[in-house]
């Protein structure tokens, strides 16, 4: 490499031009590789969830879909036991499919994968809903680009990517420097193809879901972050503020949510939309204007798909939060009990839910 400087400028110029051309063309093969990267490498958490669903025998009949909000607030084992007690020993088999950063587009993708499996569809689907996660520019939208977007999706997603915070830069990084942004995924894939085990440790919180331990690990991780819970609540809520400034319940994200509900409805599942607990600071972000857009959306889901709605956003005090929207161990015990008794039990037995409200007009 340490070649002496050449006196002629023609050769180095050609060398650098060829280098530039090769780099300019590199997004094409890189993008192709990203698009064809198998799910277990592209999004190991989702692949593990789909695989767990596939392997669960007998098939689960209650499916919980949502983000880490729902996941962190659920203690799956205790929740399942309480539900069993509430429904009186019926064979209720719970499957918690909550995902880290599981915003509506991701949940739609997951639901499509789950329902594509040749298994009995769930009888009851508990789907997390929250106005902030339905925002066109939702906080986690940019992760969709990394975990699931392929080139053919671009026309559909582009308008929302353009308007979402951080979307454009992530799309540019994903499509122009695929070898860098998707390096962990591509390396994992290459390692498997070449017969080597991956040397990259799995990022925390994305390991294969093991009932009862996975979300505990996420809670532990969140609990060990810097600062006390009150500061984390404030800091976490601040992150959402900019995304909710020009709130629009429209575009790809709300369409994805509706499509998820439609798929579940078509599969014959009873659908309960659950708004998980939110800290005071997080709730304060949901202005009357935001709520005014949320209410008709809920109403439409109710009238078209028969969804009922259970609002737990104000049911858990702030001291049971790890940050603005994730539950502590104590918080998850409280919420699991409430969800089992007030939502799943009644919904399973066909009774009217105690907390379910008709969607506001």
């Amino acid at each position: 490499m340490a070649a002496p400087l050449s006196t002629s400028n023609s050769r180095p110029r050609r060398t650098l031009l060829w280098c530039a051309v090769a780099l300019a063309l590199s997004p094409l093969p890189g993008g192709w590789l990203v698009d064809h990267c198998p799910l277990q490498h592209r999004d190991p958490e989702m692949a593990a969830t789909v695989s767990a669903w596939q392997m669960n025998e007998p098939p689960p009949n209650v499916l919980l879909l949502g983000s880490s909000r729902l996941g962190s607030f659920l203690r799956t084992m205790e929740f399942a036991q309480t539900t069993q007690r509430v429904v009186g020993g019926s064979a209720v088999r719970i499957f918690n499919a909550a995902l880290v950063c599981g915003e509506p587009n991701t949940i739609e993708f997951l639901t499509r994968n789950i329902l594509a499996e040749k298994k009995a569809p769930p009888r009851l689907a508990i789907v997390e809903i929250s106005p902030d996660l339905l925002a066109r520019d939702n906080t986690y939208f940019k992760f969709v680009i990394t975990r699931q977007l392929v080139a053919s999706d671009l026309p559909e997603y582009l308008p929302d990517i353009v308007t979402s915070g951080g979307g454009i830069s992530r799309l540019a990084a994903s499509r122009l420097t695929p070898f860098f942004l998707h390096r962990a995924q591509l390396l994992d894939w290459a390692a498997e193809t070449l017969g080597f085990a991956s040397t990259e440790p799995a990022p925390s919180g994305t390991e294969a879901p093991v009932e009862g331990t996975r979300w505990q690990a996420v809670r532990d991780l969140l609990d060990h972050r810097k600062g006390a819970a009150p500061q984390r609540i404030e800091a976490g809520a601040r992150r959402f503020r900019s995304h909710l400034r020009n709130y629009q319940l429209a575009g790809r994200t709300s369409a994805a949510f509706e499509h998820t509900v439609a798929m579940l409805h078509e599969a014959g599942a009873v659908i309960v939309l659950v708004q998980p607990p939110l800290s005071t600071a997080q709730r304060a972000l949901l202005t009357p204007e935001i709520k005014a857009q949320f209410a008709p959306f809920l109403q439409r889901l109710h009238s078209e798909y028969g969804c009922t709605f259970a609002d737990f956003s104000e049911r858990v005090p702030d001291d049971l939060f790890l940050d603005n929207h994730h539950g502590s161990n104590a918080g998850s015990a409280v919420f699991s009990e409430m969800l089992a008794r007030e939502v799943v039990g009644p919904a399973w037995t066909g009774r009217t839910m105690e907390v379910s409200q008709p969607p506001p007009e």
Binding site: M1, A2, L5, R14, A20, S26, R183
Partner: protein, 467 residues
């Protein structure tokens, strides 16, 4: 702004594009100075003022030294410059350590003194630019360079962004003339710079950052690992710290080449050294030669009786150790190397050991003693270093690393040693000249893509930024 970040990529292309669009040489230099101020100011705008003060004071003092007719006046100006530069360095870098050491010393005599708690931010690159300003004033005093009249040129010498934060430590005689010389765009120089940058990026972003994932847990809890793992961790650290700093230097030199500047070589295959003395002639060359020229030789060097030479060696090496940071580990590291250098001088090995197998054995021994030094260097507490050395020398069982991690670590270590042995071979230069240009260009692009692919997810900052 790290060299291997997207932010720097954008910054570089803007600065590079404007630089070569400007026709006038002086405008180019001022543009580079402005870019350097922005580069540093992005980290902390306030500390730009600190550099401006240090550099400004030394600029004026150097002019006074040159203008002064009497030796006493010249010497007084020199002392003033040293006091200003070293006081600032001592305040920002060593104040806390000195107060704590003072408190400990007073406690020994029964005086209770609790040092005030303050949290000083260490200005980035202060150790590097302070040594540069000192070398400038001393060289003017010695009459080796003329005091620079053009304040922009002088400021650019200190602040030129490729070397500002982590060196190499540039002497005025190496750089000021380059600032005065008109630059011409040169594709060959650009290609050379790009290749240097790629080489540095590979060393830093791939090798050093990947080894950090292995090294950090081992040094965090050395008591938990087996002796073999500690040996592996130590060798991995030796390679990591080399790749980290030599990688930075390569990138800095590559960036400088793109603007038509040449920065000095800082590392010359240091792990091929057959003695500790040779090691320091190959490792962080600009620092060790600075210590030699501005400390060891003025102290008397090896001109006097043997014990004075050893004293000078040990003192110089302790200062060199302290340069890395305020901690007892750095002092002991310097002391250790000072003693080793003195021993080498006291008991010189015969010339025949410099060839063939004996030389190979000497390289192995030198590398081992350097590794022992790095154990002291890397452990913030002396007790931690002692535990680690004890466990390395006394075979003990303990935690081990997964086979895949050991394999990757050994591959990286092997590649770096192969680079040491074959990196300068004439074969590569001949080959590079014969391969068609398009193939070389595509190979460079592929290497860049491969580096991107191999950068670990949680790549860190440069080790030498903390110094």
């Amino acid at each position: 702004m790290l060299f291997h970040s997207f932010g720097f990529f954008l910054f570089f292309w803007i600065v590079f594009g404007v630089y070569w669009r400007l026709r006038e040489h002086e405008r180019r230099m001022r543009w580079l100075l402005a870019a350097s101020i922005i580069f540093y100011g992005l980290w902390s705008p306030w500390f730009v003022l600190l550099i401006a003060f240090t550099a400004g004071a030394d600029y004026l003092i150097a002019l006074q030294i040159e203008a002064a007719a009497q030796e006493r006046a010249r010497r007084a100006w020199l002392v003033l410059s040293l006091v200003v530069s070293l006081s600032l360095l001592a305040f920002f870098k060593y104040a806390h350590f000195m107060l704590e050491a003072g408190s400990g010393l007073l406690a020994l005599f029964g005086f209770g003194f609790v040092p005030p708690a303050f949290d000083l931010v260490l200005p980035l690159g202060i150790s590097f630019y302070t040594f540069e300003t000192i070398s400038y004033v001393v060289d003017v005093y010695r009459g080796r360079v003329r005091a620079e009249r053009n304040v922009f040129h002088y400021a650019l010498y200190i602040m030129f962004f490729p070397h500002l934060i982590a060196g190499p430590i540039v002497r005025p005689s190496q750089f000021l003339w380059q600032i005065r010389t008109r630059k011409h765009f040169d594709w060959a120089r650009l290609q050379f710079g790009a290749q240097l940058f790629l080489r540095g990026l590979l060393k830093k972003a791939v090798f050093a950052d990947r080894l950090a994932l292995v090294v950090d847990p081992i040094f965090r809890a050395p008591g938990e690992f087996s002796s073999a793992t500690l040996w592996l961790g130590t060798v991995a650290y030796a390679v990591q710290v080399y790749c980290d700093f030599a990688g930075y230097t390569d990138m800095a030199r590559g960036v400088a080449q793109a603007f038509g500047f040449k920065l000095p070589i800082n590392f010359d295959r240091p792990y091929l050294a057959a003695s500790v003395g040779e090691f320091w002639r190959r490792w962080h060359i600009t620092l060790s030669s600075w210590v030699r020229d501005y400390l060891y030789i003025p102290l008397g060097g090896s001109r006097d009786v043997a014990w004075k030479t050893y004293r000078n060696l040990i003192f110089s090496m302790v200062i060199l150790g302290l340069w890395h940071g305020a901690g007892w580990n750095f002092i002991v590291f310097g002391l250790y190397h000072g003693v080793l250098l003195s021993l080498e001088r006291a008991f010189p090995l015969p010339a025949w050991t410099q060839r063939g197998l004996p030389r190979l054995a000497r390289i192995g021994v030198t590398f081992t003693v350097v590794c022992f030094g790095l154990v002291i260097f890397r452990n913030p507490s002396l007790a931690g270093g002692a535990i680690m050395l004890q466990r390395m020398l006394q075979p003990l069982a303990g935690a081990t690393l997964p086979l895949s991690v050991v394999t990757i670590t050994l591959v990286i270590i092997g590649l770096i040693f192969a680079g040491h042995v074959f990196g300068r071979a004439r074969l590569w230069r001949d080959l590079a000249g014969r391969v068609p240009a398009p193939l070389v260009g595509v190979a460079m692009a592929c290497l860049f893509l491969l580096i991107q692919l191999l950068i670990p997810e949680d790549g860190g900052t440069f080790i030498y930024f903390q110094f």
